[in-house]
């Protein structure tokens, strides 16, 4: 082989191995804290699937600033200490510019001091309103917070169903108690009367006293914040058995696949607020179709928010043309009118991206989209 032919061969080989779309650049790593083991393991799988799907799409479209994205996942074991450990492990890697945090508010609270110390953006899914009011500038929320769920429950019951006399049933844990407080407040602002506020402890074996209290209160409509699906299933069945036909507008738990399956006909005709529903808009539908094609199963709220979080993060880095923490922070906060799977993102200065909820209806066991309620404030 002549020298010229040899040089040509080398050049040809070099060309063949060089990708045409992106230069052979190092990937940009995105850290992710997710429950891969423990009771939340199933939700962890959904969260990872959502994030991976977004990364696939972004890399197909040329990556971020010409570099591909790469997901680095650490297991939080569905516990708070696990989440802190997982985050500090990821934070130790200086090449990671931003993170996907947790969907559980309690874990975000636990990680918050370390996040402040690390001073890099963390996308979260926990819905405790306090999280973005802690004075921590590095938390960005990709689900509407619980103040909005309460406002939407109240608004839908009072203004759409035209029902004024309410009963509130809530779990006595942090989620249920905060939900109850926000709902009481929202109902007061709309001029509705609250005939009954009834708490219960998680994992109750019997809800007869609660069902009877709702019956005796004479309420026309019931708002609920119930944490676990089995509790909700037992309550729904006993409520209907005792002949209580009150209208029902519940928190997202009322419309999960598990809740619908466990309660069966007892939940038919009920309403619930949910942050993700495939029929809520074209972006949600597109995400659902992508997800189904990739994983052969339907997506849920666990996967939609991580999909949006990665997409908005990549978009912010591309707009800012930087992976510096402050530049990403400013670009995320400047995001306006971006249509994601969960809804339209308009970030406020607290770091909350979404300000409304979807209302869905249980139509003989099928969860159908009813309407979207958005707030400007």
């Amino acid at each position: 082989m002549s020298i010229r032919a040899f040089a040509l061969a080398i050049a040809a080989t070099a060309c063949a191995f060089t990708p045409l779309t992106s230069p052979a650049a190092d990937p940009i790593k995105i850290g992710m804290v997710a429950p891969l083991t423990g009771p939340g393991a199933e939700s962890g799988r959904f969260q990872m699937n959502g994030a991976k799907l977004a990364i696939e799409q972004i890399n197909k479209a040329g990556g971020v600033m010409g570099r591909p994205l790469e997901l680095v996942v650490e297991d939080d074991q569905t516990t708070n200490p696990g989440a802190i450990l997982a985050f500090s492990k990821l934070a130790g890697d200086a090449t990671i510019p931003a993170f996907i945090g947790s969907i559980r508010s309690t874990q975000v609270h636990a990680m918050a001091p370390d996040i402040l110390k690390t001073s890099k953006p963390v996308m979260i899914g926990g819905t405790d309103p306090q999280l973005t009011r802690l004075g921590n500038p590095w938390l960005f929320r990709f689900r509407p917070n619980d103040i909005y769920s309460a406002r939407v429950i109240a608004d839908y019951g009072v203004n759409t169903l035209k029902l004024k006399k309410w009963a509130i049933v809530h779990s006595t844990d942090a989620f249920g108690t905060n939900g109850m407080k926000n709902l009481t407040e929202a109902l007061k602002n709309l001029g509705a009367t609250t005939a009954l506020v009834q708490g219960y402890t998680n994992n109750s074996q019997d809800f007869t006293p609660v069902a009877l209290a709702v019956k005796q209160s004479g309420a026309e409509v019931m708002g609920t914040y119930m944490t676990f699906e089995p509790d909700q299933g037992i309550f729904a069945k006993q409520l209907r058995q005792l002949g209580v036909t009150v209208s029902w507008v519940g928190s997202p738990t009322t419309a999960t696949t598990t809740a619908v399956k466990l309660a069966g006909p007892a939940l038919y005709g009920s309403f619930a607020v949910v942050d993700f529903h495939r029929d809520s808009g074209p972006a949600a539908k597109a995400f659902a179709e992508l997800y189904e094609a990739a994983y052969k199963s339907a997506p849920d709220i666990f996967s939609s928010w991580t999909y949006d979080a990665v997409t908005v993060l990549a978009r912010a880095m591309n707009t800012a043309k930087s992976s510096g923490p402050e530049a990403i922070r400013k670009a995320i906060l400047a995001t306006r009118g971006f249509d994601g799977a969960e809804g339209t993102y308009n970030f406020d200065q607290n770091g909350d991206g979404l300000h409304g909820y979807n209302i869905v209806r249980n139509d003989n066991g099928k969860i159908v989209f009813d309407k979207h309620v958005e707030f400007k404030d």
Binding site: E42, T172, Q198, Q205, D206, V210, Q241, G264
Partner: protein
């Protein structure tokens, strides 16, 4: 009046679940002097066996019950061999730790195999129940009450009227004496575990249509059942049943007329009062220290 009757019916229904699980506690305690902390998990396993057989495999309900009960009997025997038998000559503490270990293993084993999602199981009867006046009679609670009555009656006949039952009683009263009389003590204890596991499994199968099937279902029932058996008099069969029923009724009425969030507190308040003023329980005999 209607409300009180409704509460009484549900209270007795819930109470009979506690009673069935409490019976399992008491029988094993009488035979081995050990509290079996995996008793609640027998209920969970029985319910999961039903889900596998009747929902996943789609077999008929009655066949599912028969096979689940047989499976529980086998699990009871294996439990005896793996958890109790190797430690039988030790004090009660290592055995109790061993049952706690078994409980953790069973719960996490099922979690790994089946996942965290709760499952539902249809009731024994297609009809949910019927109303008489203001009171709704849930068919599943009626079934549970009926099965409890039958189980207690059969158990009474077995222990008091059969030779095998009397041998079991002898073993629970004095193992050394029983073995001197030629009673195979180890086999009798194995039978006790088999019976307790079957009873626990049956409780799980019966309660599954109401409380659904989840990994944690056994633990919350077992805690109340344990309290019930202490209130009734630990080690006493009648006490377990009366204690279970009483606890179910007390917490249902307490929740309805005083406070729902403190429902669990009533059960433990009653336990507390009994431990203070009558630690031997309703039917227990006072054990005096020998001089």
């Amino acid at each position: 009046m209607g409300i009180a009757l409704q509460l009484l019916f549900t209270g007795l229904g819930v109470g009979s679940i506690y009673a069935l699980v409490a019976l399992g506690f008491v029988l094993i305690y009488r035979a081995t002097n050990v509290v079996n902390f995996a008793q609640g998990d027998f209920a969970m396993l029985g319910a999961f066996a039903m889900v596998v057989l009747c929902i996943d495999l789609g077999w008929p309900y009655w066949l599912g019950i028969v096979l689940s009960v047989i499976a529980m009997a086998l699990i009871g025997a294996l439990f005896n061999l793996g958890v109790y038998y190797p430690l039988r000559h030790r004090t009660f503490l290592p055995v109790i730790i061993s049952t706690i270990g078994a409980s953790i293993l069973l719960e996490n084993g099922v979690l790994a195999a089946y996942g965290p999602r709760p499952q539902s199981l249809p009731g024994v009867f297609a009809s949910q129940g019927f109303s008489i006046g203001p009171v709704f009679f849930d068919s599943q609670y009626l079934t549970i009450l009926a099965v409890t009555v039958v189980a207690v009656a059969l158990q009474y006949l077995f222990f008091e009227r059969t030779l095998l039952g009397k041998k079991l009683q002898a073993v629970s009263q004095d193992k050394e004496m029983a073995s001197l009389l030629g009673i195979p003590v180890a086999f009798m204890i194995m039978l006790t575990f088999v019976y307790s596991a079957t009873l626990g499994g049956l409780a799980g199968i019966l309660v599954a249509p109401i409380l659904f099937v989840s990994v944690q279902m056994g633990a919350s029932i077992a805690l109340k059942a344990f309290a019930a058996s202490i209130i009734g008099g630990f080690g006493d069969v009648t006490g377990a049943i009366v204690g279970g029923l009483a606890l179910g009724v007390i917490e249902t009425f307490g929740a309805a007329y005083i406070s729902v969030p403190y429902k669990d507190a009533f059960a433990f308040l009653v336990l507390f009062v009994f431990l203070l003023f009558r630690p031997q329980g309703i039917f227990g005999e006072r054990v005096a220290e020998k001089a």
